[in-house]
Amino acid sequence: MKSAGNHLVPALIAATLIGVAGVVVVFWIKAENSRRAPLPQFSHVGGFQLIERSGRVVSDVDIAGKIVVADFFFGSCSAECLVVSRRMSEVQRLTSGMADVMLVSITVDPKSDTPEALTRYATQLNASTNRWLFLTGEKTNIYPLVQSGFLLSAGEPDNTVSTGFIHSSKIALVDRHGMVRGYYDGLALLAPGWILRDIQKLRSEPQ
């Protein structure tokens, strides 16, 4: 009896250790697989023509060949919206020196967000004038672009609130060919890190 008890304890410890090791290996393999897996292809952003904070007309041709991190905001928002812009600002910092990476913030309240208002907003965020574009235009140009280019066709829930505006705290990652390759929760503290990881994936893809 005594000797049986003596064997039971080490056996249980050994079994537990093997179990833990197994779990660790499974998670490691999963993490490794997701690290290596290519990013999914969501939707093509398509053509657009909007106005940048400097007043210059910007179209899809201006961002062709670049990796683009995009979000949708309104400058006069009272609360959470600024959080997403701060995440974008962090992405700008993490990608400083990467001339092939651009940031694009598109207003969903173009009436308030005139080029002058965009300039004030961008200055608050220390946005680089050539790497981070703030875009405004006509609602009839912006909304279809956001809905069908960036969000809807990707199977993202359409966040068009019934009052007829788009609200999304998502950040989208677009590859050099204008294809959306990732979505990130713009309110999440870790979002800039995830975005940087996937930018590096895109940069290592054969061009």
Partner: protein, 290 residues
Amino acid sequence: MKIQPSKTFLTLAALFLAVAAFAQTNTNVTHYAVKGVFKESRADGRKAVIKHETIPGYMDAMTMPFNVKNPAELKPLKPGDEITFRLSVTDTEDWIDEIKKTGERTPTPKPALPPPLNITQELEPGALMPDCILTNQSGLPVRTSDFKGRALAFTFFFTRCPLPTYCPRMNSNLAAVQKALQTDTAHTNWQLLSISFDPQFDTPSQLAAQANFYQADTNHWNFATADPAVIRQLSGAFGLMFMREGGSISHNLRTVVVDAAGRVQKVFTDNEWQPAEVVAEMKHAMETKP
């Protein structure tokens, strides 16, 4: 004895140069993403004349022929097509590939994007104020078309708004407008309206408390809310955006002046407007004849 070291040196130097040359030809490819307009194909598609934009760090904008890596890429192109392509440059060669058509330079404008399904166009000055019915701080109906003949200024808010520079500033500005307009006893055809977009919480008693707090003269200044459908109609018409987020409501700002003929005269889209500006707009709006 004297020759030996220099021989070793030469061998090493030759080896070094060979390695360097090898590295040069094999790894030193620079890529540039370039935009331009396709002009014509030459040499059976092995050359393409392109009017290209500035290639930062390489050359200025000009029209010139490029070597085409894969002539098949030129097949679908027509002169005048806007394209993007990749220019690759080594020390000895240059070529282009990944040629993509992005548009056409033709006199006909591009067809506009299809209008979105449920985007309400914001009303511009001159448009008629939508007719709708709200409920005021006494629980009584208030109809916007009843304000015809009077100048009307309204803003949007909700009573639980926590940010001093948002809703409270809008209402304290209106309080200043009220004070200024009260002094002009010759012109009394004016009306102020604070519209809550939180009808679930902002019952008439909540609204009455707000009216009291801002010392509203309820003959001239009502605090009101309405059914969600009416709120949607008004917010769509004026571009007000709000959404429940984290227990509160995130929103933007709209303050509107409607003239005595019931037409939109001015829309303020921020919190920078001064009471004096609205007072001036109201004086003008009172003069408008239906």
